[in-house]
Symmetry: C2
Subunit: 178 residues, 2 copies
C-alpha cells in the first residue's frame, strides 16, 4: 500500500449501536488488514470489488475522509464490520454508501445495522439530505436487499443488466429529514 | 493545468457523422480551451459541473483514455462539440457517457448525434454491452432527454430528488448488440 501519511484521526465516536459490547469508530490506519479481510471474506464481493475497497482505503489513508469515510465496528482490537460513505459530487447534499460489510462470525448481531445507523447520523449532521445505496439484484444479494429494506430504505430504481447480463443495479434511497 | 505529457494521439478517426463538413477525432491537448468553453457556454452546466469536465480533461491529458475518452467534432481548427465516455468499474463491459455538449452556434446540425453515434461505435468495437447516460429530470434538460430518446435510448430508471430536491436523476440506457 502506498501509505504516505496516516491522516485518519483515531478518535472514538460515541456509540449508537444495537450491540452494547462494541463501539463504532473512525477507522484507524491499523484497521486496514482487518477491513480488507472482511471484504474478502464477505462471500459476495468479487476480487475486483475487494481491490476497489483497497483503493478507497488507500485514498482514505492518504487524503482523509473528504471523499471516502471509513467507519468500523470494533470490539476491543477486533473489527467486526466496516462501512464507507461519502458525498456524491455534483449533487446538493446527496451521499453514497459505498460499502458496508460484516465479518461472517459476527452476523445477526446488529453490527451492520449499527454501522448503517451511524452513517445516517453522521450524514444527517453534515447536512446530508439523501443517502443512496447501490447493490445487485442477484439472489446472492437478497439478504443485502432485505437488510436495506428493514433499515427503512426504499427501492428507488433498477437498471437492468447493469453489472452484467442478468445482474441488475438496484438503487435504494433514504431521505434524511431533520 | 498539470499537464505532464500529451498522451492523446492526434489521429483522425473515420467520420460517421451526419454532417459531412466536419470530422470526429480523438481530442488533442490543444483542444482543451475549446472543450472547456463549450462546456461553460452550453447553458445548462453549473460551474461545479464545468470544473468536473476540467478535472476529467486533465486526467485524460495525464493518463490517456483509460478512464475518460474525449472525442471532438471538428471543422478545420474549430471544435463544435465534444463527448467523454469510459468503462464503468466493477461491471462487465458497461460504459458511461459522462459528457456530451455542442457549441450553441452549431446546434441542430447533427453534431451531438454524430458524436454519440461515434461513441456507440467505439464502445461496441471495444466489446461494450451497455451504454448508460445519466441526466437531469428538470425542464432545462428536456431537450437533452428528447435527444437521447431520438437516438434510441430508453428511459431506464429515475432517482427522485437526487441532484437536489425537485431535481431527479434520470438514467437512459442503450444495449449495444452485435
Amino acid at each position: 500500500m502506498q501509505v504516505q501519511e496516516p491522516v485518519a484521526p483515531a478518535v472514538a465516536l460515541p456509540t449508537s449501536g444495537a450491540d452494547p459490547t462494541g463501539e463504532i469508530d473512525r477507522a484507524r490506519p491499523a484497521d486496514g488488514p482487518q477491513i480488507l479481510a472482511i471484504a474478502a471474506g464477505a462471500g459476495v464481493f468479487t476480487p475486483e470489488e475487494v481491490a476497489t475497497v483497497r483503493e478507497l482505503w488507500e485514498d482514505y489513508l492518504r487524503n482523509g475522509e473528504a471523499s471516502y469515510a471509513f467507519r468500523v465496528y470494533r470490539e476491543g482490537e477486533k473489527v467486526l464490520g466496516f462501512s464507507c460513505h461519502g458525498r456524491h459530487d455534483l449533487t446538493e447534499r446527496t451521499y453514497d454508501l459505498y460499502w458496508i460489510a460484516t465479518d461472517p462470525s459476527a452476523r445477526r448481531r446488529g453490527v451492520g445495522r449499527a454501522l448503517l445507523r451511524r452513517v445516517e447520523e453522521e450524514v444527517r449532521q453534515a447536512g446530508g439530505r439523501l443517502l443512496v445505496v447501490e447493490t445487485s439484484g442477484t439472489p446472492a444479494y437478497a439478504p443485502t436487499r432485505a437488510f436495506y429494506r428493514s433499515c427503512g430504505y426504499e427501492l428507488e430504481a433498477v437498471v437492468h443488466d447493469f453489472y452484467h447480463a442478468g445482474d441488475d443495479l438496484v438503487i435504494f434511497t433514504k431521505h434524511l429529514g431533520e
